[in-house]
Symmetry: C2
């Protein structure tokens, strides 16, 4: 009855889909003539990173110092930490650079520029621009850009690595045209910022944009040197919902087991709850609200029509159906695979991926384990 000889809940990663997703983005950036610096915050796994950098220039993007440490231990050295640094982390950043890790840190405020200039270590710094998401970053046209750049430029221990922006607001788009417009805005913001630095006689080697939707839908990236999409490798229901991938591209699922029947509520209970699936509800705002996840056949990986993880407790998931469930079809012990809203968040509950080759969907297929890092 059980397909996978794996105790549940567990992450299943379809290597075939992963490789297709990676190839598509790598080829896309080759045709754009821009470096791809894949963001590893989703997978946090060296085995995924090696595939993602293959055929590209070798640099990666990370979201935590734990990732810097982990990927450095595993032989990668060109990294951008794409979240504004807390000043208390400067010692840590300098220590990595002293160990020949080319870590680039991110800031958006003059006070942190002063902290870096006054720090005892050496640093390479990217200045973050706000291209419309209004999360972090210097507003285009603000005098802060040159204020920060001048502080950094005057400091002998600091090299300005360039400018960076993240079009997180592309996640609010629902059409390719909207995403292409945001991509224009994203590109213009950093290219203008780079031109400002260069006009002041400073170098700006890196001009970096982010986000999977804008990477896929940008009309061109003239003036941009690199891009940092990440979630394209795994995909998820939210990305499928906004058109960044198809349902068939989703490479990451959660393997789970039916542990109870609740006939009175027309529900199947599974051993994947809030910790195993995450409490992310990104698809709530989309046309197709997937609740906490869609239920897939364990063999084919195809969505079973009508079944959804309607709600979660810590270790219980409640699958409901749009029609009356035939409980004898899903006896206790049945395995499902669940597609979730947001792969980055779901994966964070696990320390490993169980990797299958989707082209050989057979119980005896080899399953590899790829480890991932977590925490900060």
């Amino acid at each position: 009855m059980t397909y996978f000889n794996i105790l549940t809940p567990a992450l299943i990663l379809d290597r075939n889909k992963l490789d297709k997703n990676i190839d598509r983005m790598t080829n896309r950036f080759k045709s754009l003539g821009v470096n791809l610096r894949p963001h590893l915050k989703t997978s946090k796994a060296i085995d995924v990173a090696r595939r993602a950098v293959a055929g590209n220039f070798g640099g990666i993007t990370v979201s935590t110092f734990r990732e810097v440490e982990y990927f450095a231990q595993n032989g990668l050295s060109d990294m951008t930490l794409a979240a504004c640094i807390a000043p208390a982390r400067l010692n840590q950043a300098a220590a990595f650079r002293a160990k020949r890790i080319d870590l680039k840190i991110l800031i958006d405020h003059p006070s942190v520029a002063h902290s870096i200039a006054n720090h005892s270590g050496e640093h390479r710094v990217l200045i973050e621009m706000d291209c419309g998401e209004h999360r972090t970053g210097v507003t285009p046209g603000s005098s802060k850009l040159m204020e920060i750049a001048n502080i950094l430029n005057a400091a002998p221990n600091v090299e300005i690595a360039g400018v960076l922006t993240h079009a997180g607001h592309s996640y609010r788009c629902r059409t390719a045209d909207q995403m292409a417009d945001i991509a224009d805005q994203e590109r213009n913001t950093v290219v203008d910022a780079a031109n400002s630095l260069r006009a002041a006689g400073m170098e700006c080697p890196i001009v970096s944009v982010g986000s999977t939707p804008t990477a896929l839908y940008a009309r061109h990236l003239n003036g941009v040197t690199e891009a940092r999409p990440g979630v394209y490798m795994f995909g998820d229901l939210f990305q499928a919902g906004i058109g960044s991938c198809t349902m068939d591209d989703i490479a990451l699922t959660v393997l789970t087991t039916v542990i109870a029947h609740q006939e009175g509520e027309n529900q199947l209970l599974i051993d994947a709850g809030g910790l195993a699936l995450s409490k992310d509800r990104s698809t709530r705002v989309l046309e197709d609200d997937c609740a906490f996840g869609l239920v897939c056949d364990v063999n084919t990986g195809n969505v079973i029509d009508g079944l959804k993880v309607a709600s979660v407790h810590q270790e219980h998931g409640q699958i409901s159906s749009s029609s009356i469930i035939n409980f004898s079809k899903y006896p206790i012990g049945t395995q499902f695979r669940i597609m979730t809203n947001h792969s980055c968040i779901t994966a964070s509950g696990y320390d490993r991926y169980n990797v299958i080759d989707g082209t050989h969907p057979h119980p005896a297929a080899e399953i590899n384990v790829w480890k991932r890092c977590n925490g900060w």
Copy 2:
């Protein structure tokens, strides 16, 4: 400026509040004359477990096999795994019993009773009853209870440990009276089930109820032998919102650092996002919706009026305010402590607690590290 010499984000556990919360529940069950079997699914930490069992009979409740393994390695042996077992886990359960771990497993279906009866290992089994939550458990009055009991009773390798229920629907209550009513329902359900087994000549040593609200508000627990509350140790904003604890009882917070200012949006950006705080939004349904968390002064631990974590990205939290933020009051590098919706879920993002003694809120105060286990 920084209070704690800890890199952020990080969990802060106030041992003083923890001990008060534990003492209150331990004393409550002494006065009720019922065993307290604390649920360790929140803390997943042996240092918390030792405090929670002190003065009680020594048994614990867990939610995963990883917890069984971890607590067994740390010297605890009387455990109830309070989620229906996946049949593929029976080998694992039997292996623990063979190592003299008194693991009690939970089922609610005759098919699993057959799997256990036919299994090569020895098992002690609790039968789950549904007292109104309608998640898992046998419906009161259903013939399934005796069907399961008869299968188990006839199997030479199986001992019926008793009956168990969980009044998760007490979380929907908003008054002490409502909670006491649910506690009556919870108690009646398992006591009736135990009487049915005994009337059929079977033993039913354990009659177990759950949930922090019913543990606190039950009018009496006559006929019940033990209770399994858990979240009372740490508390959280949801528990405070429904009256299971006060704001001052909340022992767990997330230490975070301001990493950017977004004046245009009247927001402070912190380095605690969806992974560090969790995406749990339990308080959404309460009168006081706390968004993704309330912001506390790092020294006093007191809530700063008007500040809330309005939204989260993977590694960014966006603090908004009901009034205009005085940004100079919170320079980049400022530390806050964040109270979150649901301690069980927030804690799962971390592998350790930084433990402070709340009665000595001083920068030089000793900070102990308590490890926790994660995963399955």
